[in-house]
């Protein structure tokens, strides 16, 4: 079976960028972007980076709720033209944006 890849990457990028405007994400997230590629097995994939508010990531239970959030975002993106790519996630905080992670010296 040949995977159906997203044909309109620009539209999907716009949908990802708009994620923090959604009512169910706005309280905890300030930005989102994505990159297209292939996973280590060669299947098409999308990596969505979510940027969360610093006080959100410090809140007890925040990480426990992310599984449902990821599922809901996948569903949302399918409704905005996502193909068969599996959506992976990374999570940054506002502090990470100001001081990006890198390899140790």
């Amino acid at each position: 079976m040949t995977a159906t890849t997203t044909t309109n990457e620009a539209a999907l990028r716009a949908a990802v960028a708009d994620l923090p405007k959604l009512s169910w994400l706005a309280a905890d997230f300030v930005a989102a972007d994505c990159r297209f590629g292939h996973d280590h097995a060669g299947d098409p994939a999308v990596w969505v980076r979510l940027v969360a508010k610093d006080d959100a990531v410090a809140r007890p239970g925040f990480f426990d709720g992310l599984f449902a959030v990821r599922d809901r975002i996948r569903e949302h993106l399918r409704n905005h033209g996502l193909g068969e790519e599996f959506v992976h996630f990374t999570l940054w905080s506002e502090t990470d944006l100001r001081n990006p992670p890198g390899e140790d010296e």
Partner: protein, 170 residues
């Protein structure tokens, strides 16, 4: 290998250090530990199904291949296609808990592969990403406990092990 100990280790590795945020090496190892916590949860469950000498069960565990497990997890995560379609025919719709386990496995393996093998600095997991994967592994273990005694879960364990199981399952 005790999966809970791996998750305890991951917690330790993601904790703030006296000198500031965790080192990138520690965060990479935490992601890897989270993946292996789920990996060992599933392979230990498979071994527990086998009423055999412990040495035989250890041999069984070592037959599980990451690539095969990934392919099957992807099919079960989607709830259709390949051997997951066979599971639906035999057992009805795949339980949400089992789909969650499969999805978590797929996510964790991809994250672990990047953490262990991708040297690019921009791939370094943030502390939040590492904590997300640790929480995901814990949640997947809870989901697995809820579904593990169902025949479809036993079929899942077999499919993770046997390549092209669908060819033999009719």
């Amino acid at each position: 290998m005790n999966p809970e100990h791996l998750l305890d280790q991951a917690d330790h590795l993601t904790a703030w250090q006296a000198v500031g945020r965790p080192r990138s090496t520690d965060l990479r190892r935490a992601v890897s530990a989270a993946y292996y916590a789920l990996f060992h949860t599933l392979t230990a469950a498979a071994a527990a199904q086998l009423n055999a000498h412990p040495g035989i069960r250890r041999l069984l565990v070592r037959q599980y291949a990451h690539a095969q497990m990934r392919d099957v997890a992807r099919q079960f995560a989607n709830g259709s296609g390949g051997v997951a379609a066979q599971a639906v025919r035999f057992f009805g719709a795949i339980p949400a808990e089992l789909r969650d386990v499969a999805k978590a496995f797929l996510e964790l393996q991809t994250a672990r592969h990047a953490a262990d093998y991708d040297p690019r600095a921009d791939i370094v997991p943030t502390r939040g990403t590492a904590e997300m994967w640790v929480a995901t592994a814990r949640r997947a273990r809870t989901a697995w406990d809820a579904v593990r005694n169902q025949p479809v879960a036993e079929f899942f364990l077999l499919a993770l092990l046997v390549k092209d199981l669908g060819r033999f399952a009719d």
